[in-house]
Symmetry: C2
Subunit: 240 residues, 2 copies
Amino acid sequence: MNNGKHIASAFDRDLEGIQALIMKMGGLVEANIKDASIALEERDVELAERVRKADKIIDALDVQINEEAARLIALRSPTAGDLRTVLSVMKISTNLERCGDYAKNLAKRTGVLAEMSPIDGAGASLRRMAREVEDMLRLALDAYMQRDAVLAETVRHRDVDVDQMYNGLFREFLTFMMEDPRNISACMHLHFIAKNIERMGDHATSVAEQVIYLVTGEMPDEARPKGDVTSRTHIGVEDD
Amino acid sequence: MNNGKHIASAFDRDLEGIQALIMKMGGLVEANIKDASIALEERDVELAERVRKADKIIDALDVQINEEAARLIALRSPTAGDLRTVLSVMKISTNLERCGDYAKNLAKRTGVLAEMSPIDGAGASLRRMAREVEDMLRLALDAYMQRDAVLAETVRHRDVDVDQMYNGLFREFLTFMMEDPRNISACMHLHFIAKNIERMGDHATSVAEQVIYLVTGEMPDEARPKGDVTSRTHIGVEDD
């Protein structure tokens, strides 16, 4: 990134190459999150299989980015701010790779769910949650390209919405399970899917936090806003 | 680490300092995994609270290790093998921090579970699973200290055992849920706990894979042995 303080150096050119890979990887991950959740909603087993295949490309990009970043450090001996930038790129790549893994896991469970009786409205609810996370990821990567800490901060706040959607789905699935034991198996998978989407949101937030760190020099101070209260939730007939 | 090829340099001394922090962090994480699972089995809410507090020290160590590693790279401009070592230390720190987070999540759910009717044998089963993961982490860190790729490989294989224990618990908890809807709430928490312990096992395996990478120069080739089949599992009355 030429910030006007010095002419474009070999380091800058190398870094731009790695950043182009990050944006390519980010686009593939967003597409896989979208496709995985559509496959889930429409019980489209072939689309789910394409998601699983596409994940291999995402993994390969993560390996490539890490290798090129290490080579860049070894060759150019960057100091301070430039080094921080390269290390951040590596962390962002890891976050994207984890999002990709969760999308692949979603696709795996879709195949199983397609053979069970559907749970009313579950696919649509999960699609909404996934769309929120796709947006967060897109904004986090835009914020990275533009080195925009304010935009990155908005991503952190949207994570609260995702956590609250998760809370709602957690309760909704519990009611289906309590209504009819034959729903339990499908609801277990839906629960794990909802948790995985929530985790994707956490990783998108981590990308945004890396942007804030890059721009300001410090990780965001205040605790990340937490909306997921299900680990403290008492739900069940015992409380009546 | 003095490998006999050169006298101990400033880089070596700095690296030893960081490795001492990793071993300290690893010890704290192992202790927290142990305490969290004992707290769960014995429904000990005070011990669970101590786990949550201890996690802050683990997080602080991760921050410190990352900062000192970045400073080391900036100051000493290591190349090739030495750079790979420092980058590996940073990855290991991240894996340890994630294990710590899962132990903290376990402790949070313990407080909730302590107020529900216990599920027979669940605490003991989860304690056994957690003990397996503590062992894996201890071995992975020993392998790191000794740069022992053979020992690291054994950790990868033990992850299959942990995945299989998870499969068994998944099925066991499903039966409790189908037996009596009043068990559903507690079983949901137990499911998530089992999944978190399985994920801790994955992170211990990642540490072992970093050791193999450090020693051999390559990440392990063959796909990691996968024992967790629950995402492909059809369980339920529909299959009868």
